[in-house]
């Protein structure tokens, strides 16, 4: 398709540790179209943040290895870009919203300085932007995220704001200059449920209004359902299932997706399922074949031999499981 914005193909990422390599990301395929809201859902330790960090190349330097794979952004491989191209990508194309707004904002600079920097560097390549214009744009961005009294907010330090307000500032930073892709890494997880609801509604409104693409990384299926058009389910560094959001919730195919869906406690009651036995594998020695196979109740001998490939079972619905191929 021609309007693909981000396309990750067969990505592998290893971390160097004492005793070998942690083979965390194992053949990840992920695609974001223009104007599409995509969810990447997985439990902690499944590598979703590692995938996210590999897109603007902000993985901890020196400790990782990408043995294989391509990350195409607008048809160009990010892994083969030089430094200035990556800088341009970070300042003008991709915006990020992190999980913990307290850690994302610098405690010794005012909100105005920090938003101003984002605006300055995103526009610096084209024209000389004046201080006054930067201030005006900052106020506009803060207004858009419905923060009260944005002019006074510019001289405030992050510690003077609550968690929800800080996350609004982070969203304002990511939307202060035009971007094509917003990557949000669990933007509501560190906040209370009523504040999370506000933040998610705000992000959704902005993304829809501007037709920006969104890659939302989350562990909450409920958040993903309300926020996205298409979902990738990730387990232990592999994509196990992907489908349009409504199809995935109606017709989950992979045993892991089914187990995950059943484990979510429902507001309507009806008890809690037994969960999924076992734990995520040791990445130093990941299991042969399908990585979910040691926890899977349907596992057979073929599952332990070769990892299953993503196969299309319906239109836009891909599953990596031998069950669908028998």
């Amino acid at each position: 398709m021609e309007n693909i914005l981000l396309n990750i193909k067969d990505l592998h990422i290893w971390y160097r540790v004492y005793g070998g390599y942690l083979k965390i990301i194992n053949s990840v395929y992920l695609m974001v179209r223009e104007g599409e809201r995509v969810g990447l859902v997985g439990e902690s330790g499944c590598g979703k943040t590692t995938v996210m960090k590999s897109i603007p190349q902000i993985l901890p330097p020196g400790d990782f290895l990408i043995p294989k794979g391509e990350i195409y952004y607008k048809g160009k491989d990010i892994l083969k870009m030089n430094f200035s191209e990556i800088q341009r990508l970070r300042s003008r194309e991709i915006a990020m919203i992190f999980q913990d707004p307290t850690a994302a904002l610098n405690p010794v600079f005012t909100i105005g300085t920090q938003i101003g920097d984002v605006i300055r560097y995103s526009a610096a390549l084209e024209e000389n932007v004046h201080q006054e214009k930067i201030k005006m744009l900052s106020i506009k961005a803060l207004k858009e995220v419905s923060l009260p009294d944005p002019e006074r907010m510019l001289v405030n330090y992050p510690f003077q704001l609550s968690g929800g307000m800080k996350q609004r500032v982070c969203i304002a930073m990511s939307t202060s200059s035009p971007r094509n892709l917003i990557i949000a890494d669990e933007p509501g997880t560190s906040l209370d449920v009523t504040i999370q609801d506000q933040i998610m509604r705000l992000l959704n409104e902005i993304v829809k209004k501007r037709k920006t693409s969104l890659l939302l990384i989350t562990h909450s299926l409920g958040v993903a359902k309300e926020m996205t058009d298409r979902i990738y389910i990730m387990y232990a560094g592999t994509i196990v299932e992907t489908a349009l959001t409504k199809d995935l919730f109606q017709n989950p195919v992979h045993p892991y997706t089914k187990g995950l869906l059943a484990s979510v406690p429902r507001l309507s009651g009806g008890g809690i399922a037994r969960g999924i036995p076992g734990r995520i594998p040791d990445y130093l020695n990941p299991p042969q074949g399908c990585r979910f196979q040691p926890r899977c109740e349907y596992a057979t001998s073929s599952c332990t031999e070769n990892p299953p490939q993503l196969i299309e079972v319906e239109k836009d619905h891909f599953v990596a499981c031998y069950l669908t191929q028998r």
Partner: protein, 341 residues
């Protein structure tokens, strides 16, 4: 500050209540200014009771004082005023002044098993301590008892020799539960026991806790921020906001007929995955504003700045707890005016 002489004057609670909090307050002093000392009103006049064998879910946002209540019950804090009656006996005192037989009865499971288990001890050492303090188990039987305990939480016996560092988060929490069970308590305070865990692991632990409750006739006070979890695990739910309880009801009526505007706001904010759940969400109310400061709470009803139904009286007077139907109490002026008419 309570003295022992007040114990005799306490009110008699009904027999089916294991724990009762009467006008419980806990203030923390954080400094002083010209007007006098400044307090954080973490818990500000709370009344509730827990019946034998039930699970009371105490739900609230961060800063609402729910964990302070939990810590006051186990004796980590002593209340500023008010009483906590445990089996009709006042326990509103610090843990050091509590008798050993009382400490044995009330146990706690903390939120983060990574920091509540000593990483320099083995599971065996961790589990042996409550046995040594609370029971007269002979040394020879100690190991047998500990293996029995591990079996109760479905962990293999070889876990005795493992360090908390080498086991997963879910397994650590199971060890912490086993430690709480060692003294054979009657009340366990669960302070967000699964909020640091994944949903697939959470499901397993909650089921285990519910099985253990039936098997050992335990009573739980379940402190959490997760409403959908409480729908499935609690028999009654209390909602806290800025140190006060807004609404108490049993779990089914709570979700079918939420009365307090804050409860409605909470339920409407929960992300859900099925259409069935979506129907339960109150549609008229959306989340606005943020939780106020417990140092300087809003006047009158502490929720009024965020409330879509606020009336002039809300900023002036603090509403009373009103029983709207048996077992369903709510603290809101919307219902006090109804009662008068």
């Amino acid at each position: 500050m309570l003295f022992d002489s007040e114990v005799n004057t306490m009110t008699q609670s009904e027999n089916n209540e294991i724990l009762k909090a009467i006008n419980l307050k806990k203030y923390f002093r954080i400094g002083k200014d010209k007007k006098g000392p400044i307090f954080v009103r973490a818990v500000d006049g709370v009344n509730f009771s827990i019946k034998y064998g039930e699970t009371l879910g105490l739900v609230g946002e961060s800063g609402s004082g729910k964990s302070t209540i939990a810590y006051t019950i186990v004796g980590m804090y002593h209340p500023t005023s008010g009483q906590i009656l445990f089996k009709d006996q006042n326990i509103g005192m610090e843990a050091v002044r509590r008798s050993l037989s009382l400490k044995k009865e009330i146990q706690i499971v903390f939120q983060d098993p990574g920091s509540s288990l000593n990483p320099r001890q083995t599971v065996e050492q961790i589990l042996a301590l409550p046995f040594r303090i609370h029971t007269q188990t002979p040394k020879k039987q100690l190991r047998e008892k500990m293996v029995e305990l591990l079996q109760k939480v479905e962990l293999p016996p070889d876990f005795l020799y493992k360090s908390p560092l080498s086991i997963s988060g879910g397994q650590k929490q199971l060890v912490a539960i086993a430690r709480a069970l060692a003294s054979n308590p009657s009340l366990i305070v669960l302070d967000e026991p699964t909020s640091s865990l994944d949903v697939s692991v959470q499901a397993k632990i909650i089921n285990k806790l519910m099985d253990l409750q039936k098997e050992m006739h335990l009573t739980y006070l379940f402190v959490t921020h997760d409403l959908s979890l409480m729908r499935n695990a609690a028999s009654r739910i209390a909602i806290m906001y800025l140190g006060k309880i807004c609404e108490i009801a049993d779990a089914t009526t709570f979700f079918e007929k939420p009365l307090h505007p804050y409860t409605q706001m909470l339920i409407s904010s929960v992300p859900v995955i099925t259409d069935e759940e979506k129907k339960l969400k109150p549609k008229k109310i959306v989340s606005i504003g943020e939780i106020g400061s417990p140092v300087n709470p809003p006047s009158g009803c502490s929720f009024h700045p965020r409330c879509p139904y606020r009336m002039p009286i809300c900023s002036e007077a603090d509403p009373e707890m009103i029983e709207v139907s048996p077992g369903h109490t709510v603290r809101c002026h919307l219902f006090s005016s109804q009662k008068k008419n």
